[in-house]
């Protein structure tokens, strides 16, 4: 290209940088697998989210304890003292705390995940990156807050004479896997939908209430079985309910006078079968979440 107006430029022929990379679509790298391939970026996002969530607040991280603790005391007084569940359920406080940790983990993942893409607008609109990053980061941030709650739980349980068992640890891990996978699945689904209709985050609020009362937290599972009989198995199709029961298997059962009797009386006989099913359902839900997310993703940057 000869340009008469600028003779000076033609003087120095430039070298050309040859790139050996293949020619490919610049937007190719998406999906959950890509998220875990770019762990460093994920780590930065999680760090950022943790520091940003409590920015400008004096108590900061403490709020993530105050919230579940206040719930704990409300339920403790209402259900335990008023409805007299202390009498019927041994160590009712531990029983309930198992539920609170799981429900809080799930709801936080779900709610923060739903808002994650809209909140990260600035990045989503300008930078090419797998957008699944944001819901996944929300889940990890919520998971980060679970750790100290579990520590409190362990201390309380040890004081009540609890010793860790192999089955209990397996239950703990399974419960966390169920919540991580199903929470991420819901976060993926709702975060994309929330871009198109902000109504979705309100639906999320309602759902969190359902979750709170749809698990054996403020009432023992025995009550469900007594009232619904055979229909109780449908109750167990809720993965979050299974996760709560697994947590109770891990912690609460061991704190009672006779763990074997407690487990037989208050936990469903086929808990592990239902837990396996819950893991499976969560994975399927995650697959659906990813599918829907990928379908909607193309329209996300322009609709934000």
């Amino acid at each position: 290209m000869t340009d008469v107006t600028e003779p000076a430029r033609a003087a120095a022929p430039r070298e050309i940088r040859h790139v050996d990379a293949p020619l490919r679509s610049p937007a190719a790298g998406t999906g959950l697998l890509e998220v875990f391939r770019r762990r460093y970026l994920l780590k930065l996002l999680v760090h950022r989210e943790i520091s940003a969530r409590y920015q400008g607040s004096v108590l900061g991280l403490l709020w993530s304890y105050i919230n579940p603790l206040s719930q704990f005391f409300i339920y403790y007084v209402v259900m335990g003292v008023l409805f007299n569940l202390h009498e019927d359920v041994e160590n009712f406080a531990i029983h309930m705390f198992c539920g609170i940790i799981i429900v809080h983990f799930f709801n936080e993942t779900f709610n923060a995940g739903t808002r994650s893409i809209v909140r990260n607008k600035a990045l989503v609109q300008k930078m090419a990156m797998p957008r699944e990053m944001f819901p996944v980061a929300s889940m990890l941030v919520s998971g980060y807050h679970v750790v100290p709650q579990v520590v409190i739980m362990v201390i309380a349980c040890v004081l009540l004479g609890w010793t860790p068992t192999l089955v209990g640890m397996a239950a703990l891990v399974t419960a966390l896997i169920i919540i991580m996978v199903s929470g991420t699945a819901m976060a993926l689904l709702f975060s994309a939908a929330n871009v198109f209709f902000r109504d979705v985050s309100n639906v999320g609020q309602i759902m969190t209430n359902f979750v709170r009362f749809g698990v054996p937290m403020i009432y023992p599972y025995t009550m469900v079985q007594d009232r619904f009989g055979d229909f109780a198995q449908y109750y167990l199709l809720n993965p979050v309910a299974d996760a709560v029961l697994l947590f109770q298997q891990a912690f609460w059962v061991g704190t009672t006078d006779d763990p074997a009797v407690t487990a037989a009386k208050h936990l469903p006989a086929n808990l592990w079968a239902f837990s396996g099913l819950a893991v499976l359902m969560s994975v399927i839900l995650l697959g659906i979440g990813q599918l829907v997310f990928s379908r909607l993703e193309n329209k996300i940057p322009e609709r934000l």
Binding site: D3, A12, L41, A122
Partner: protein, 262 residues
């Protein structure tokens, strides 16, 4: 050895949906009145071109002609509905004056985050951090939240990160629109450096002067369609088609008034 193309845009089309009514009530009323609930328009309409490695291309066009959308297709933020966009190697750059910064984070944290999004590792970022911070000239503001920065400061920071990424393709969208004159000079020097090192450069600008200095080819978009693809002088002439009777001197003068020609 792979091929020599750097960016291949093949019949790319990107359609945006315009929504007139968002609430249920509005949509019902509109449906009853038989009005359109939504409409679409093509921001990029069947555009094809190939940019070879080492080429430096000026992308011009009026406001709303689809330049930024085209850049978003090239850097992968958006995907075309029709056709294909393919690139080779790592892409860095700025789209619409500013990178994706998180307003609550400090400049320092944003440098790391932004660099990570562009594909830099932690070690790489640490190595280049001082250069980035120095180039952005933020001084003591490096540790205050980016949300408090002036528009000039945040675009300086964005440019600084993007320019320090070891990229194969550099996209520059109106980088010079907000910076002051000394910073513009610095940016142009740096972009000249990129160009001399043989990397592919796509430069969006309304300023004919800097396009003339920076590019060996001009692509003009008109309402989403490819209007012109060819030499710099002819391209600049083409883009000013509405005032075609201007002389060369007048063009230069106008450029100076824009403050973009240095």
């Amino acid at each position: 050895m792979s091929g020599s193309e750097s960016i291949v845009v093949d019949h790319a089309t990107k359609t945006f949906t315009l929504r007139y009514h968002r609430t249920f009530k509005q949509m019902t009323v509109a449906a009853l009145k038989r009005q359109d609930i939504s409409d679409t328009f093509k921001a990029v309409d069947d555009v094809s071109f190939t940019i070879e490695q080492g080429e430096s291309v000026g992308l011009m066009g009026l406001n709303g002609s689809g330049k930024s959308t085209l850049l978003k297709l090239i850097n992968g933020v958006m995907r075309p509905e029709g056709g294909a966009v393919q690139t080779r190697g790592r892409i860095a750059g700025l789209i619409a004056t500013g990178a994706g910064f998180h307003p609550q984070l400090t400049g320092r944290d944003n440098i790391f985050l932004n660099a990570a999004v562009l594909g830099m590792t932690e070690a790489e970022t640490r190595r280049k951090f001082d250069d980035i911070a120095e180039f952005a000239e933020l001084g003591k503001f490096l540790d205050s939240p980016v949300g408090h920065y002036s528009s000039g400061m945040s675009s300086r920071l964005g440019f600084s990160v993007a320019i320090h990424v070891d990229s194969d393709i550099f996209l520059a969208d109106e980088v010079l629109a907000v910076g002051d004159k000394p910073f513009k000079t610095k940016c142009l020097e740096k972009m000249q450096e990129i160009r001399q090192s043989g990397r592919t450069l796509v430069y969006v600008s309304h300023a004919a002067g800097s396009v003339r200095k920076m590019c060996d080819r001009v692509i003009v978009l008109e309402k989403g369609k490819l209007g012109f693809d060819g030499g710099v002088a002819a391209g600049i002439k083409y883009v000013k088609y509405d005032t075609g009777n201007e002389t060369q001197e007048e063009l230069e003068q106008e450029d100076d008034e824009l403050g973009a020609d240095i």
